[in-house]
Subunit: 278 residues, 4 copies
């Protein structure tokens, strides 16, 4: 008997928890965990219910539609492994962490393929018997390169794309095809050090802490909703290279936590921010 | 219009959230935040609702009694500053932190008095115009000493007693008078280093992290429900004294967080553990 | 018998540690701790020695001058409490922490006075019998306001100025009078959120971590050498006000650590960065 | 031109830094980094120098022997990858982390083999083309089992043994053969929760933080010198299984940091404690 997750968000009003849980109760379902949040500045209500039982999805949706206001967002999810595609360039650290966790079923996902604009990581990926697609970007327009990748994606039908140190900027068009479904790991504590060479910048500024940020990708580079941020202390003895290495460790941590949250349907997106029910 | 908090815990069953929020909805009340938790091993349900509106306390309680099983615990709290008494011996650090926060209304409490078995901290307390009771324990049986303190407490009628580095062990009888209402700060990361001289022990063991634990006081020394634990890194350069000093800092942090949680009615106690709705 | 601290920095070359410790050894002094660092990009050597013994300061300086290259920086410091002046505006939190620590000799400083452009904090400061100077900035040119403050400083002869939430920008001229001697606490994790309303900015960006930065003040606003950075986790439930409150806690921590390091002469400044020998 | 590391420890006396660096200076060597520490309670001096140059090891040792007291410990190390053997049982997490890091030369070690008392992890190890020795302990006396393992070790001649979740207790005899050369990861924040089922214990006690400890193995179980401790916050929602999973993450971090420190010769052992020069 699988677990189900109900995600509802709508304009706030009195009695919402009572009404929504009433629909589940009438169906004889057992709520395992329930979370709500009201975003005050937008007067908006968010709720996540995890429940088990003999689920009649259509009945639940219909009753909720009857109960709630027209513009409510209602999403009923049967828990299953998310289908994901990982994008990388040359760095192996985040990829390695995901592959090992996947090998032992510690990540709620099925890795359909790894896509890269360089061939370097094929040997690592092949150890785990996962398809590796090398799609070089050399001598190609950005759009043409993405077209080639899209062909792969169309075959795979992924739920999420994970940019695990993919060092290419995606076009607006590409991003719009996967709205709220692309997760990136950014090598800095956003919004500090946007753009390239964040460790070089951090070194020059003499910071004492460096960070990493996992976020959804939107059309604005490095501006999407933040899911997880992690930090690590550094000091004057750290060279740029040392900072990079320390940075890798927090990148792994931040991405790993973000994937766990997203793949367990614990993340709402609202006003370019995330609401996370842990 | 004050905020109210409803705390309910009872045996778990289907529909509890629906039923309890229904009582509040029928009264036309507006839930600001709602938290639930089911303790699986005990099959027990916990819920905390914070709400505003025209509250008829008796009606709410009556309807909840009618709705829920007989052995449910129901507590309706009108938010107000908790009345507290602080116990200290000679150390000023946790006390100083509380006094400064209290001076600027940053703590949801009214300090009725400070009680100490030494006179040392009177000058600090008097700066803040708070009564200081020096009750020496010298040449007195433990019970006789506590009797003197109880006389003060009877006049003050405190909600909570805060042991902010009070270096005396309380009798079972005294503790039983304030069940779940005495909060202690323990100078170690419990359950490591119970008892005296934890920093001496930590130094000898060569630990790399020291901690502090804020917990409710029960009849078993250092064994009560843990509310907050905090830690700080140390290394081989730390002397016992350095560890003590670092320890003070985490003690302040741990106690400060614990008081905030307890004074905002966010803590349930169950099976000698705490369930905290942050 | 007091402790002495020797701070030397110069162009790196072979044998520096041997030569410098030789001068101390010849004087029969006992090194308690010794730290060195070579800044590779500048090929520059830094050393801090803490020692005890019968110190002939002139002899040490002369011998070091003979031993080291002409452009070496040599500073011999007899350990004593630093003379400091604290600047505040209306916020009491950092000030309160320093006052309590000072009351119990936990800070290696003597507070000569507190200066403020508002009268609000006089009642707090007076509890601790420390002079409070209220110098309003209203209807005054920035320079005129600073002139009034400088009169106070000239009488006090402070070693350091501590800006414990002083919400005024200092003129270049003022800053230049106290080069490397003004310590500020900045309410963000620099370089993120420079300027005003950092918590408002942080809230809008939906960050998951907020921070505070203690740094030396230079003529470039928020751009001086960073001494300490601290962070705290936040989530979607935090309002701007909650973030501010959490921010205060890390501000206190960051400033407190920075003052400890600076007042114990553990901080070198080089290329707008700090080298810290803990 | 390789880096060399000199480790010296001896009874403390005046001038030691000067004398030891003098030997290196006379040989025309260039000190890259230098660390000293005096353990006050034992009046013992520790120094680590990292240097480059044309090294005549015999000359350095001879001169140091002439300069220092007879009972000094002097160790001159040419930097190279440490030869290690990893011991595991069934858990893959720490092993996986080490294998991935090793694959990309991020660990200063050469993995000679993985030894296990179960066959489960062979498939993971074989992906990385590293010998895997399955040595079952079933129906064997502890000594007989260790004899079989010792045969493998004798062929491999490892510098260090890494117990990456090896769930067997080693005999005193075995431990004595590899004094200060066996590194373990212990699944708790020692000294809390020694022995078996630490997460079960932690769950029952309702702790708010769980930890992991990497330490050298001595004849006293769980009592050896601590190298690194790491922690992670947990709350009432964590089941025993959740705690185990969170614990795995900190175990990986703690072991990874400990291996880095040990394999870069940054760790002294003294009085069952570690002195670590980072």
């Amino acid at each position: 008997m699988a677990n189900y997750i109900l995600l509802v968000d709508c304009k706030d009003e009195k009695g919402l928890i009572h009404k929504i849980t009433g629909v589940l109760y009438n169906q004889g379902l057992n709520i395992i965990s329930n979370n709500e949040f009201v975003e005050e500045e937008a007067d908006h209500f968010f709720m996540r219910s995890e429940f088990t039982g003999e689920v009649n999805g259509d009945a639940i949706i219909t009753q909720l539609r009857d109960t709630l206001s027209k513009d409510s967002n209602i999403k009923l999810i049967k828990q299953r492994k998310k289908r994901i595609i990982i994008f990388v360039t040359k760095e192996h650290r985040c990829l390695g962490d995901i592959l090992i966790k996947n090998e032992y079923n510690e990540i709620n996902a099925e890795i359909l393929a790894v896509v890269s604009n360089y061939p370097d990581l094929e040997s690592l990926v092949s150890k785990f018997k996962i398809p590796f697609y090398y799609v070089s970007h050399l001598n190609k327009a950005r759009e043409a390169h993405e077209e080639e990748i899209l062909e792969i994606l169309e075959k795979c039908k992924p739920d999420y794309l994970v940019l695990a140190k993919y060092m290419r900027i995606l076009t607006r068009k590409f991003v719009s095809l996967f709205e709220n479904r692309i997760i990136n790991i950014h090598h800095s504590f956003l919004p500090a050090f946007v753009g390239v060479n964040p460790y070089e910048q951090a070194f020059k500024r003499g910071v004492k802490i460096i960070g990493a940020t996992s976020h959804f990708v939107t059309e604005q580079l490095d501006e999407g909703p933040i899911i997880v941020q992690e930090i690590i202390s550094v000091d004057h003895k750290y060279t740029v290279r040392d900072m990079e290495q320390a940075g890798r460790e927090v990148e792994i941590m931040a991405l790993s936590k973000a994937l766990k949250l997203v793949f367990e349907d614990k993340v709402f997106i609202s006003n370019n921010k995330t609401i996370i029910f842990e």
